[in-house]
Symmetry: C2
Subunit: 421 residues, 2 copies
Amino acid sequence: MLSSRCQCPTHSHTYSQAPGPSPGETTDYAFEDLQNMGAKSVCLMTDKNLSRLPPVQIVMDSLSKNGISFQVYDDVRVEPTDGSFMDAIEFAKKGAFDAYVAVGGGSTMDTCKAANLYASSPHSEFLDYVNAPIGKGKPVTVPLKPLIAVPTTSGTGSETTGVAIFDYEHLKVKTGIASRAIKPTLGLVDPLHTLHMPCQVVANSGFDVLCHALESYTAIPYSMRAPCPSNPIQRPAYQGSNPISDIWAVHALRIVAKYLKRAVRNPDDLEARSKMHLASAFAGIGFGNAGVHLCHGMSYPISGLVKTYKAKEYNVDHPLVPHGLSVVLTSPAVFTFTAQMFPERHLKTAEILGVNLYPGSVALQGANIRTAKTQDAGPVLADALRKFLFDLNVDDGLAALGYSKDDIPALVKGTLPQLPM
Amino acid sequence: MLSSRCQCPTHSHTYSQAPGPSPGETTDYAFEDLQNMGAKSVCLMTDKNLSRLPPVQIVMDSLSKNGISFQVYDDVRVEPTDGSFMDAIEFAKKGAFDAYVAVGGGSTMDTCKAANLYASSPHSEFLDYVNAPIGKGKPVTVPLKPLIAVPTTSGTGSETTGVAIFDYEHLKVKTGIASRAIKPTLGLVDPLHTLHMPCQVVANSGFDVLCHALESYTAIPYSMRAPCPSNPIQRPAYQGSNPISDIWAVHALRIVAKYLKRAVRNPDDLEARSKMHLASAFAGIGFGNAGVHLCHGMSYPISGLVKTYKAKEYNVDHPLVPHGLSVVLTSPAVFTFTAQMFPERHLKTAEILGVNLYPGSVALQGANIRTAKTQDAGPVLADALRKFLFDLNVDDGLAALGYSKDDIPALVKGTLPQLPM
């Protein structure tokens, strides 16, 4: 049996340049792809931590080797804001690049998507493409430059989605830009880039995968949403659960159930880290079409209104609730609430997470008798989630992040602009 | 229990204009998509049978309503040849279109892909892009025009793939063009377009889905193929089984196992026909990346060397072995042969097709004892396939198509150029 204690040697900082397998061959390919696209002037976006580490170094070497000129922007903010997006956009506008490469987690990929969009649409106001009601939510009709996304965490799935999330500081809420036009041209999902992630980063980003899968699978089906947009260009990026997103959600959830604990507990477990890196992309393909709901909607004020909480193992100079943690903490309550709408789907996910829905039954000509009832679906799934989080030593509820009952009105106020997602 | 007799009222021709639900709203959207793409002069490709039927009529009405000028090419040949491809290419070159719409089965979509490719690359010789060893297999580096594919059969999955198959008449073999560049921009998978399909067309196209799923799931894994191409633009369209294609193969196979017989037997079973239409696209996404192997490789001479066999319910003026039939007839023999390589995968597919791998076992603390052994995997799957085909009254073996032992050398000769696929 695996120990429940983290064996990760890299507690004190976000990434360590540990010896081990070198990511390389796959990453090299991407820059031949860039060359094939005719790229001559590339913008490489990353953050300060990563800029000194192998995933970025390999990209730079590969660009140089292939004779592609590039400039590095390493001022990406972990949990970006409108201000940090703007800074990256200015850099992109000045550079007049013909392709982009984003190496990092969701913050980096999202910042790069925004930079590509606004540099390709230089006369737009920032709020033009930001989701309504905060922005104008205009459809994107300009052509963008190619963007290659190289994820180095296993949670966001941003390499597969047309979404870029940021804190809108003026209102202290998270919002985003959502359009299939900003989806990366190519995602390079190389598990060797994840071997340097500290345990807590693996856990929190894994929680994001868990909730992407659970929320997209339990989202309102596309066929129940109305009215239909009058023109396909006005279709939202998030269209509701559908037969394709369901496949990805269920498959990603099976991987999380089987491999997340292993990936957290042992940084050398290449199989588990590889599977979680794929699960992140798989869940991204699913929720990127279906959407997410309450866990994500409520997570934005939970991280946006942070006071002093600083996540362990994140090397940042500002208070930070990691996105995956802010998402997963409310999940037992959320699914208790949503189960009444689609109880069978909630039971199915509980079963994937290890709940035996047939306790004490006997095989009777192949047909077991299920004892779990649909009215118990919410509590059954909530219990499964609490056990899963307990096994991974997750902080217990919003109080652990420094919130009290007095914060509820502000948390509610910050949630409402996210809905409907 | 479902009757094994076909209840289809449209035995005598390929499509009947039966009353019933009208496909429309979804199809309308596609042409707003065309308008959003800035299309002003569209090439609509179809075949003579379909040109008078609702799927094509709706497209024409929609184009007219949206003020998009278009020309119709309805000379697509069912099971196209290099000659019929060339004819369509000439039409496309003369028209100088800025977008394409293909309404029909695989033959129409494949013809349209080829027309788009060569009209976009007017100085290329026909064999430049045809797969080696018959053609030169050059990578596609020219930009193509947008192509919207509207499948009206549920088998080919061509709306999702970068492949176009044709008979190369000079050598009497099938070959094709394979490049992600010819993949349709948009596939419009509207199940209402399938309600007019005669039973035999549903069955044969369903067999194609069955074999796409089985072959791509049992194809040599991408990680066992060597050498890697030196540049990503030389990556083959078919890359071997992989974690993404596996998901689609298994999911499509589950749908075939559950719904194909219902879809064949009752043309009004909208649920079954809808599921099969999705399964066709799902299997297409899988095999379009992973590839197929022996069933498809051997099918090409089986249909290419046809003497007098004319499939029931296909309204054509030439001898014809429908593609799906030519593929599935060899499947019991093929999987008996290939099972030694990946026995667990063969057993898993047999189980999905209804084989009980745990006969006579008892549930023992949740762990059943599997009695099927890996060395039996081939015969187990072959028996499952024979039963499946028997239930659908499929012609028994190659003799039923008019082949004898004397034809074996020619069939082998026609198979060899297909490998490796």
